[in-house]
């Protein structure tokens, strides 16, 4: 086991920042702590690092109980959102810092620093100071500095949060490749679900200081266990069952579902799980009007209004849209390819594939 936290709790005054959180991260995995701001993700990371202490609960690092261990003995690498490079030191001195603390012989330090400079492709910048580097370069140096003493676990707090989107994308895939080479157990905090999907082996979804769900990205996407997870992992149409049942039976084909009746349940449909045609097909479909058609590069977003007045969003490829010849204002038919059905009772979800 790489990292394990058990029943972690942390209060700030009356506010429960971390509320009975437990999870385990297998060795060598790259895992994302995903949640909105205020979900307690950074606090959990800082507790694991020892920079913050929990009110109760345990932290276990590579099988060793670390709850009471001081920061400097935990053998972790930590990367901050704003790099936190030592401004009075060159790139080389920054990376060497942890090795010097370990009092390694000079030649060995030099060798290891060279190795890391090569890894982050900044050998030519070794004698620059942090202010002379770009944001992406600084974050790579911060990463190299954290990795230099060969930490047992690597912790990253919104590592790409301060970078512009293009650099962020580059650095993300670079981090993924790096992790495939280095294989250090890594936990990174992010509020960006796309980032979590792109980089991580597993995702821990957090909400209000609690773990909502943990699992591989695709599994979370396809089998969310709660309203929060469903909404947080990408856009989704939420249709009240009551509204669906109220659809005019003459015009609309009823859903082929055994819906339990108007009880406040919700049907969740991803925008790409809606099918649009100009003619009614064999399959049951609702008639709708295209209120707005937005081109998003390779994708097209349709804002539909169902006859009964419910708005839904549909996403399809540009080619499909062109093939169908859709335009704003068109009357169309839409059918569901896949949906999730959530009752008001928390945690209960049924998957339907039509």
């Amino acid at each position: 086991m790489g990292i394990a936290v058990r029943r972690l709790t942390k209060r700030f005054g009356d506010y429960r920042a971390v509320d009975d959180v437990s999870f385990e991260i297998p060795s060598g995995q790259l895992v994302a702590l995903l949640g909105p701001s205020g979900s307690g993700k950074s606090t959990i990371l800082r507790i694991i690092a020892g920079l913050e202490s929990a009110d109760s609960g345990e932290v276990v690092l590579t099988g060793e109980l670390a709850t009471a261990m001081p920061v400097q003995r935990r053998g972790i690498g930590f990367v901050f959102q704003h790099y936190a490079l030592f401004r009075h030191m060159t790139v080389r001195q920054n990376i060497a810092f942890g090795l010097e603390i370990q009092k390694l012989p000079r030649p060995e330090i030099a060798r290891r620093v060279d190795e890391l400079l090569d890894l982050i492709q900044l050998t030519s910048m070794a004698n620059r100071y942090p202010t002379q580097l770009s944001g992406g370069q600084r974050q790579r140096v911060a990463l190299a500095r954290a990795l230099a003493p060969r930490p047992k676990v690597l912790l990253l707090d919104e590592p790409f949060g301060a970078l512009d989107s293009q650099v962020r994308d580059e650095l993300r895939s670079w981090l993924r490749r790096l992790h495939d080479e280095v294989h250090v157990t890594s936990l990174f905090v992010t509020h960006d679900q796309q980032e979590a999907f792109e980089v991580s082996d597993q995702i821990v979804v957090l909400n209000k200081g609690r773990v909502e769900q943990m699992g591989p990205p695709q599994q979370l996407y396809e089998h969310p266990r709660s309203d929060f997870v469903t909404k947080f992992l990408g856009s989704v149409n939420i249709l009240p069952v009551d509204a669906i049942l109220a659809m005019d039976q003459d015009d609309e084909s009823p859903l082929p579902l055994d819906l339990p009746g108007p009880d406040g349940s919700m049907v969740y449909v991803r925008p790409h799980d809606l099918h649009v045609t100009k003619q009614p097909g064999q399959k049951p479909a609702w008639s709708a009007r295209i209120v707005r058609l937005t081109h998003l590069g390779g994708l097209v977003r349709l804002d539909l209004l169902l006859n009964q007045g419910t708005p839904v969003t549909v996403q399809m490829s540009r080619d499909e849209c062109a093939q169908l010849g859709l335009a704003q204002g068109d009357e169309v038919f839409t059918a569901l390819k896949d949906l999730k059905y959530l009752t008001p009772a928390p945690g209960f979800v049924e998957d339907y594939v039509i």
Binding site: G50, L51, Q72, R87, G98, T131, Q132, A142, R145
Partner: protein, 266 residues
């Protein structure tokens, strides 16, 4: 408009600072360089300067160490009475140095209980070296604190936390990360402390007893020379004292400019 403002500032600067400085410089070397050297190497002058430098050295070391400690506590920690401490740090600025000297005389003087007790042990404070050091330290206490606090606040804790995660203990982190990051604020505070210590007069006037060769500092010596209608000695000593502060200040600025160019240049 812009040039008028710049011209005004330069004129103002010249009238207020440059003219008096030049006047002193001229007066001091009027009798030739030889008489200047003779004036500053008079035995009383040498003794006075030696005393001033000694007191300044002690006061500066003490205020540097404790000033940084106070700044760290004020910026990083919360404790009951913090606002009071924060305000009291400025007290030496707020009251006249004469009053500061008076406080020490009242507390440690021969007539006070503490003074009597200390005298029994053979320790004299007022009219002795400890009094001079105490008075100078008191008067210059706020400089390091006030220069370091904003720098430390701006510095934050990220870099210190990173150092801790890399295995550094608290002391190593302070020496290798915090101290180098606050160095210019600290250096500036130290410079001001030195300059002010060299130039302190009022508090020393009250505390020292002005015993020639024993508790007469450079400023007290200058004062006596003026009083004794021998202004040449006063001019020379005054110039020498001002020059030491000025050279230290310029020297520090130049070192800083050079180091910063290395770290931030392209």
């Amino acid at each position: 408009m812009k040039w008028a403002l710049i011209g005004f500032v330069q004129l103002w600067f010249a009238i207020l600072i440059l003219a008096p400085a030049i006047a002193l410089l001229r007066a001091a070397v009027e009798g030739g360089l030889g008489s200047f050297v003779r004036a500053v190497s008079a035995p009383e002058a040498v003794a006075a300067f030696r005393l001033t430098f000694g007191v300044t050295a002690i006061a500066t070391v003490v205020n540097t160490v404790f000033g940084v400690a106070i700044a760290v506590v004020l910026v990083r920690h919360r404790f009951p009475g913090k606002a009071i401490v924060d305000g009291l740090v400025d007290l030496p600025f707020a009251v006249s140095p004469i009053i500061a000297g008076l406080m020490l005389v009242v507390l440690y003087g021969p007539g006070s209980p503490i003074g009597r007790r200390l005298a029994e042990w053979g320790v004299g404070v007022v009219y002795e070296l400890p009094g001079l050091v105490l008075a100078t330290t008191f008067v210059t206490l706020p400089f390091v604190v006030r220069e370091v606090v904003p720098v430390l606040r701006e510095f934050g804790v990220d870099q210190e936390e990173v150092a801790r995660t890399l295995g550094a203990g608290r002391w190593t982190t302070f020496v290798r990360v915090t101290l180098p990051s606050i160095r210019w604020g600290l250096a500036y505070g130290v410079m001001l402390t030195i300059s002010r210590s060299l130039g302190e007069f009022g508090a020393l006037m009250v505390v020292s007893g002005n015993i020639i060769g024993r508790t007469q500092t450079a400023t007290l010596y200058i004062h006596d020379e003026i009083e004794s209608f021998e202004p040449r000695g006063a001019y020379a000593a005054g110039l020498a004292l001002a020059a030491v502060s000025f050279i230290l200040m310029i020297g520090m600025e130049r070192v800083r400019a050079r180091v910063e160019a290395a770290e931030h240049g392209d």
